[in-house]
């Protein structure tokens, strides 16, 4: 008994205690809801059974219904556009800014810090601001583009089916830019300076240095940034109700917004769960990539 207590204070028991606390927390806060969600996607759910665990079994019917819904392919297309271009925009511009601020010029780190403003703003506020910027008849962006002579008549960013998803993509790139830039800056700072000096002595130009030193050295950081970006983009919800509400005609509805709509606007909780399970599979793939890229980091 005393040995047990002693090991609790200092030894294997202490380790197990700490790990156990984390495991219990994870199980209660993430594991159970996850299982509950998956379970719900195979059941028939209505308001009377909302509080119970045992419900009529639906098999794959919810999945079949979701795939057969008229908006399914539209939502899939939008989700792909939203995820791919948001991530690409955030990453490319974020990387460019990170490289720019890695140069030594007066005020570099201060200005870089200011970019964090976009990151700390709540998504709904960002959405409301972009909603004004992108407004059709009296929008800020339209006024600027018009006075520059780039467009002749107003572009209805929020109401034109060919622009609506791009309106949200633009806002999301702005929102996620700072996060990407910051993580990539950290990666850049970790690259030893002497590598660059040696390469310079060997006569490598800036472009060659970027391709042969920066990119390979940043591999794990880039992997982490991209997979976190994928998760963050698939989570992005606030911008949709604030800017387009998924419209017009579902042209800017993405999977996460659709799932919310099913559960909390149409009160079809089973289908909402079904869509989120489908997304879960995607996020799982991203998580695997993320874990592998960080594992690489630990090994050195």
């Amino acid at each position: 008994m005393r040995r047990f207590l002693a090991s609790l204070r200092d030894g294997v028991g202490f380790d197990i205690l700490l790990v156990g606390a984390a495991m219990v927390f994870l199980l209660a806060m993430a594991g159970l809801p996850l299982i509950y969600n998956v379970l719900m996607s195979f059941q028939q759910v209505d308001m009377f059974t909302l509080g119970s665990l045992i419900r009529p079994w639906a098999g794959f019917q919810n999945y079949i219904d979701v795939v057969r819904a008229p908006e399914f392919w539209m939502v899939t297309r939008n989700t792909i556009i939203f995820v791919f271009f948001s991530m690409a925009g955030q990453f490319v511009i974020g990387f460019a800014l990170a490289l720019f601020f890695a140069q030594n010029f007066p005020g570099a780190s201060t200005i870089r810090g200011l970019f964090l403003v976009s990151w700390v703003m709540p998504g709904l506020v960002v959405g409301a601001i972009w909603s004004w910027i992108l407004a059709g008849d009296f929008g800020v962006l339209n006024t600027i583009l018009k006075s520059l002579g780039i467009i002749q008549s107003n572009v209805f960013w929020k109401s034109d089916p060919s622009f609506s998803i791009w309106a949200v993509v633009i806002a999301n790139i702005w929102l996620g830019l700072a996060f990407n830039m910051l993580l990539l800056s950290v990666g850049l700072a970790a690259i030893p300076r002497d590598l660059y000096e040696a390469a310079e002595l060997d006569g490598a130009n800036a472009f060659q240095r970027f391709l042969t030193i920066t990119l390979p050295m940043m591999r794990s950081t880039i992997g982490a940034v991209l997979s976190l970006g994928l998760i963050g983009t698939l989570q992005q919800f606030d911008l949709f109700p604030a800017i387009t509400e998924g419209g017009p005609a579902n042209t800017s509805t993405v999977a996460q917004y659709w799932s919310w709509q099913m559960s909390f606007q149409l009160y079809d909780f089973a289908k909402g769960a079904t869509i989120s399970v489908m997304m879960l599979v995607l996020v799982l793939i991203a998580s695997i990539i993320y874990v592998r890229s960080t594992r690489h980091e630990v090994r050195g």
Binding site: P70, A135, D137, K158, P161, G247, P248, A249, L266, Y267
Partner: protein
Amino acid sequence: MKLHLTGLLAAVSLGAMSLATPAFAQVTLKIWSIDGVDRVGIADTFSKEFDDANEDIVVEYRAIPFDDLVNETLRAFATGNAPDIVSFDNPDFALFSSRGAMLDITDRVAASSVIKADNYFEGPLNSVSWDGKLFGIPKYTDTIGVFYNKDLFAKAGITEPPKTWAQLTEYAEKLTDPANNVYGATFSARAGEEGTFQFLPIIQMSGGGYDNVNTDGAAEVLDLWKKMIDNGWASKDVLSLGQWDSTGTFNSGNAAMAISGPWEVDRMVEDAKFDWGVALLPTITEGGERSSALGGFDWGIMSTTKHPDEAFRALEYFASQDNRIFEEFGSIPARSDIALPVTGVEKKDAALKVFQEQLKYAQPRGPHPEWQKISKAIYDAEQAALTGQMSSKDALAQAQTTINGILGK
């Protein structure tokens, strides 16, 4: 010594607290509604009055934002913490009444000397009925019509408001003035309940209903609306603007006609710097069938209540105050036995006369337990047609297929 004093004070205040609680048994009623979230409304005011007037009843009133009300109530009902009385938007009511979540008050109403079913307009009363039984009473009602800018009409040489949708489109073209940022017309075809609210009346005018949306008349009007948007006689933003924002452009003189309801009148009296009037919603053919949207909230008692008698007394009190709701809150009572008082504001009184006339043609959305899904099929079709993704006919046909699936046909 100081400690003693504090202790004494605590004892005294404890004593005072127990004295303040009345000795006899009290019944607690939980009442939920959206009133009181952003401004004082019917439910919070009357609940407090009812609380004050009844020694034996304590009212716990809770204001819940519009978007959360149904969700919150669903969750509360599922976990056994439902309120005693709740006030829903009328299309949401059937979701609860059809599944036994609302108390059947048919017999209580029949025996009541305050609430008489005959006094209510047919549309609002339908929204609280299910399976021939009464599950609640209407709280207030509203509908939509056409606001028109009389100054711009005069400038364009138009003397009368439009009588048909074809005429409305024709006038919209004449009234459009891009140089001055004036659109001919504005309405709300948003992807949401507001879109259905404004479009379902068209389906009803054409002889259809929520269960039969694929009509020639509805497709015809949808084509007219698309024509207005395509030609710039109406802003493309009608696809994303709600009614309040859409009518805001009318108030600022940027649209010559606006489709909306009586809730706009007070703001319009303030904001609009021109002469305006209201007309009945146009029909598809001249002198054709009329219809309009039916808005407004309903009161109901939840079936899980432990105090149905006291809850019904509260409803009786609310109903007895219906004659005050127009003056104090600008809401129109859903009753034919209450005459609206004259406010003295000429445009407002004229507008309300038209809306009262319009209410005779107002038809409820549903009632159906899965209304939200039916509504989505309708506004999805409307948007698909207006954005040109599908022809009006195809969009309505697709909506019909979806709705048939929901109705189990």
